[in-house]
């Protein structure tokens, strides 16, 4: 059964992709100053978000359990010994 691909809008990956776009556009230098300014703002903001995610995030651990009736359950975890 194929798993549907979720559209994760503010995922790390999409942020990086957008940032890449902005850097490329600014590097080409064909944008008027007004537009360059707003792209710059967006780019710095994305960058800040990504840095936050990488430096502040903590690993989430869950154990996958199957109940007697066949349903699935996730249980929060301590890191294994």
């Amino acid at each position: 059964m194929p798993v549907p691909k979720k559209e994760k809008k503010d995922s790390f990956e999409s942020s990086l992709k957008r940032l890449e776009q902005i850097v490329e556009t600014l590097e080409r230098g064909e944008v008027p100053l007004e537009e360059a300014l707003s792209m710059y703002e967006e780019g710095i903001q994305l960058s800040k978000q990504c840095v936050e995610k990488l430096t502040r995030a903590e690993l989430k651990l869950k154990t996958f359990l199957k109940e007697v009736d066949g349903t699935f359950k996730l249980q929060n975890d301590e890191p294994p010994e």
Binding site: V3, E13, I44
Partner: protein
């Protein structure tokens, strides 16, 4: 039961004679080892396992009680050659003799090897190892499933490495037996269950190092098929660096060890932080260049401006400079730690360029005739000059002049 001498004259009941037979057999064959091929292998819902051991011309019924299955190191299958240890007894109700199995072993490493080669060839012919079937792994997984033993070094190492390299992920651990009786079934089921559950970007299935028998579950057909059928990409990480298990062949990616899998599956955040730092630097440089050229353009306009022009036009140009300055200030007002004061530096330079600000600080623009004079060398004693302050104009005649050395 002790063996009793058979009486030729006594008429035995069926139960009596059966019991005597049982006693005799249990005594005589209390501890035997039998080699043969497994067939009619069946596990009942009770958990007890029934099969026959046979050779070319005879067979013997065998039973493996559920409690004893835990001491078996592999999953027996029809066709396997084994050595069975146990005691011969009689199942009185049915009047059959059978082997009460205490321990079961494949005949030798050779047998396991052979089974491995055979299965490998069959599955390869079927196309389970085809490169075209392998799925790419996501570059930045958000949810990772790990099917492994909940204790031991393998899971510990994987959690540590992923936690160090790329913390913004969720690890879902599906605990299973990784060796012994029923392990293959548990692993296969976990693969199916994680697929049913959904929302998982990639799965690692594996275990730490061990002998061929220890790793055997990862060579079993049921695991291979579950990996093949998984819609979620699977990384196989089975202990040995050197040996390749069948799981390794079927999986979308093979990792030599569980630790290696952890490194393959997520990027290193240090690398990413570098990329982010570089991106910020590049963007700032480009923007600075853009602001600089705009600033130069405006300054040129101001400096080339004659005082004979109507005041309105002067005011217009001043206002345009202010506009540009304001826009740039807006951007620079957002101070981001990443830029470490470069923004402040840029702002100061902006301020120093705004003519209005310069005048307010006490500077004047000096005119002689129609032209702006920006060098003392261009002025001679007795020249009539006009000095524009921020709030008015002063005319004066030059009395004396000093220029810096080298004038």
């Amino acid at each position: 039961m002790t063996a009793t001498a058979l009486s030729q004259s006594h008429v035995y009941s069926v139960s009596e004679i059966t019991r005597l037979i049982r006693g005799t057999l249990e005594n005589q064959f209390s501890d035997v080892r039998i080699q043969g091929e497994i067939s009619n292998f069946k596990q009942h819902t009770s958990g007890h396992v029934y099969f026959t051991i046979k050779d070319e011309s005879a067979q013997i019924a065998a039973v493996l009680w559920r409690s004893r299955t835990t001491s078996i190191q592999f999953t027996p299958q029809d066709g396997m050659k084994v050595v069975a240890f146990g005691r011969i007894t009689v199942y009185e109700t049915r009047g059959i003799y059978q082997l009460d199995v205490r321990q079961l072993q494949p005949v030798g490493i050779g047998e396991l090897q052979l089974a491995f080669e055979q299965l490998k060839e069959n599955l390869m012919k079927e196309g389970l190892f085809d490169a075209s079937h392998k799925k790419p792994l996501p570059k930045y997984p958000k949810t990772i499933g790990i099917i492994t033993s909940p204790t031991g070094a393998a899971i510990r190492d994987m959690v540590n490495i992923i936690g160090r390299r790329f913390p913004p992920v969720e690890l879902i651990i599906a605990p299973v037996q990784v060796q012994g009786y029923g392990a293959a079934q548990e692993i296969a089921q976990a693969l199916r269950d994680l697929n049913s559950y959904g929302g998982i970007d990639v799965i690692i299935v594996g275990r730490g190092g061990g002998s061929l028998e220890d790793l055997w579950a990862f060579n079993e057909e049921i695991v291979a098929r579950a990996i093949y059928e998984s819609a979620i990409p699977v990384v196989s990480a089975v202990g040995h660096e050197v040996d390749t298990s069948i799981s390794d062949f079927v999986a979308d990616l093979r990792a030599p060890t569980p630790s290696a899998a952890a490194e393959l599956i997520v990027p290193n955040r240090l690398d990413l932080l570098d990329i982010l730092r570089n991106s910020c630097y590049t963007m700032t440089q480009r923007l600075r260049e853009g602001v600089e050229s705009e600033r130069n353009r405006v300054r040129y306009l101001i400096e080339s401006y004659s005082f004979n022009q109507p005041r309105d036009l002067v005011r217009q140009y001043s206002q345009r400079v202010d506009e540009a300055d304001r826009r740039m200030r807006n951007v620079l007002r957002h101070r981001f730690e990443v830029l470490h004061g470069k923004a402040e530096e840029l702002q100061k330079r902006m301020e120093s360029v705004n003519p209005e600000q310069i005048l307010r600080r006490g500077y004047v623009i000096v005119y002689r005739g129609d032209t702006v004079v920006s060098s003392a060398r261009r002025i001679s004693v007795r020249d009539l000059v006009r000095m524009k302050f921020h709030d008015g104009v002063v005319r004066s005649r030059v009395e004396a002049k000093e220029t810096d050395a080298g004038a």
